[in-house]
Structures are given as C-alpha cells and as structure tokens.
Symmetry: C2
Subunit: 154 residues, 2 copies
Amino acid sequence: MLSMKAKYGLRALLYLARQQNQEEPVLISELAEKEKIPKKFLELILLDLKNHGLLQSKKGKGGGYLLSRRPEAIKLGRVVRVLDGPIAPLPCASQTAYIPCDECEDEKTCGIRLVMKDVRDATAKILDGTSLADVLRRVEEASTQPAEALTYHI
Amino acid sequence: MLSMKAKYGLRALLYLARQQNQEEPVLISELAEKEKIPKKFLELILLDLKNHGLLQSKKGKGGGYLLSRRPEAIKLGRVVRVLDGPIAPLPCASQTAYIPCDECEDEKTCGIRLVMKDVRDATAKILDGTSLADVLRRVEEASTQPAEALTYHI
DNA sequence: TATTTACTCTATTGATTTAATAGTCTAAAT
DNA sequence: ATTTAGACTATTAAATCAATAGAGTAAATA
C-alpha cells in the first residue's frame, strides 16, 4: 500500500514536472497549497527526495524546489523506494533491499517467495518503466481523448 | 507489503494442501508447531479463513482444520484479500474494494491512479492466477531441478 | 452423561509505523 | 541587518500490527 508520504511526494514531483520553466524554483508553500498537502509534512518529504538526489533546492528569497533531472529521467520506482522503502511484498523477495527470512529453511524452494518475487518483478517493471513525463503524457491522453475513444464497441 | 498474518495464513494453507488425505483434519497445534507460527495468532487467522469459506473445521477429538476446496481451486489472491485486504496500492485503484480519493479532482485523469491501476492489475493477475496447487508444483520443480538447469550458459 | 478435546469468540496489550506538528537553526538574497 | 525560505531535530497522536489471555461452545468417547 502506498503511504500518504509517497502519494504526497509523487504529487509534488508531478507538479514540478508540469512547470514550464524547469529552472525556476517553486515554493514549498505553493506546492503545499496547490496540492493540498500539509506544509510541514511536505517539507520532510521534499528534503528526503533532495537528499536522495531527485530534487534541488535554493534557500532564501526566490528560493524553493526544482527537479534535479528532467521529468523523463525520474522514474516512479525510485521515488517510491525513497519514500516507502522496497517495492517487494516481502524482504526476501526484494532485489534492492534483500533480507532473508529467518524461519525459511530453504529459500530457493520457498513457494511464497517464488510468487512474491513474480509480484515484485511485475511491479518494478511498471514503476521503473514509468517516468514523471510518462505520467503527464498519460494524463494528457486521458483528458484529451473523448470518452468514446476509450470504449470498445461490439 | 505482506503482513505476518497473510504469510502465516499462506504457510498454513500450503501445509494443508500438502496433506495426502485431504479429508482428514489437521490440528491447529500441529500447524503451529510445524510452521513455527504462534498458536493463538494462528487460531485467529484460521478462523478468519474459515469464515470466508476457504477452510472447514471440525470440533472435538479428531477435529482440526481442512481445506474447504481442492488446492487447485484456492487462489492466492483470495487469501491475501481476506487476510490483508485489497491488493491495489491505493483504494481508488482497487477493483474489489474501490474507494474514491477525496482530494482527487478528476479521477479519470489522475496520473498516480492510472499507474497504480496498472500495478494492481499486474499483481492481481499473478495472485489470482496462482493456486495453492500451483505453488506446490513450483516448489517441487525448484527442488527437483538441478541448479544448473536453472542457469543460462553463454 | 461426564469428561476430554479442540475449535470459537471477545478483549486486551505492547510495539511499531504513520501522519502530522512544533520549534530552532542556517543559508541566501536584498 | 533584515527578511525570506529551506534544513534539521524532536515530539506527539492515532492507527495498525502482532501477539496473548481467557472464557465459551461443540463434538467425540468412555
């Protein structure tokens, strides 16, 4: 389950990705207000994302946050891992944060792990294959297309 | 993330699915001991699974739990939903337990939802497509196959 | 039918995590 | 020097998770 933290973080990043001038910092206050996110909570989230290299910040007047890379280069998988931790449903099925189960006798033949590894792989494929730019493009498509175009007719 | 509850539940179900005589009840005590699950906690889990139609029970001497259907007919998706709730990473992306976001202005064009729906679909496809019997078969394959057979050679 | 066995049910507890808030500190601009 | 705005640490309230406790009920059998 995606936490509020991750949801807020993604919303903030998408807001930044939508800015026409990607060089110009956006105030935390603006992000908080526009995206309806508790400001103090958002500060922590943005700081976290900054410390993991996804955001840059400028202090003082005219300061704020901006993406540290192009929206095409920021994958949702990275964001989710930073804010919510590993993607795998079980630590023993994680690629980036593997931790063995202590009860597990033989991990190679643990059925639950085998299936959860499939789930991890499928999820990671989607999240690591989707950038902020991809999300914006999909949103654009969804709002441009008339509803009928999305429906199958018999 | 899969909870201990779901993990314990799956382990217990797989234990039952491995029984040669599927008609003969297995004691909670045996399940708890063999699968190293706190007995009292396991009681709650099994009861829950029973109330959702996945298990049957017999009281008194010679009693215990048994699967209420064949191992081929019990899908992991059902088990996980009973013990951990909806599979979707967000309530607004759930098929079986949809709840709209209150902040969301236009759900049809919410990018986060679009992606999380993909994640849900991919996860549900795996979990709803895998039965207890499938898991046992995979475990069997994994433990029978020599290690080399699983490795690609250049 | 008394007794034992074993599941049923409700309540409670402690630990952890989550979401949010408070307040002080530091850097940058004017 | 002053204002602006992010940086950082600590704390708190609520929710969830994992586990435990104990009394109750149904079924078998001696």
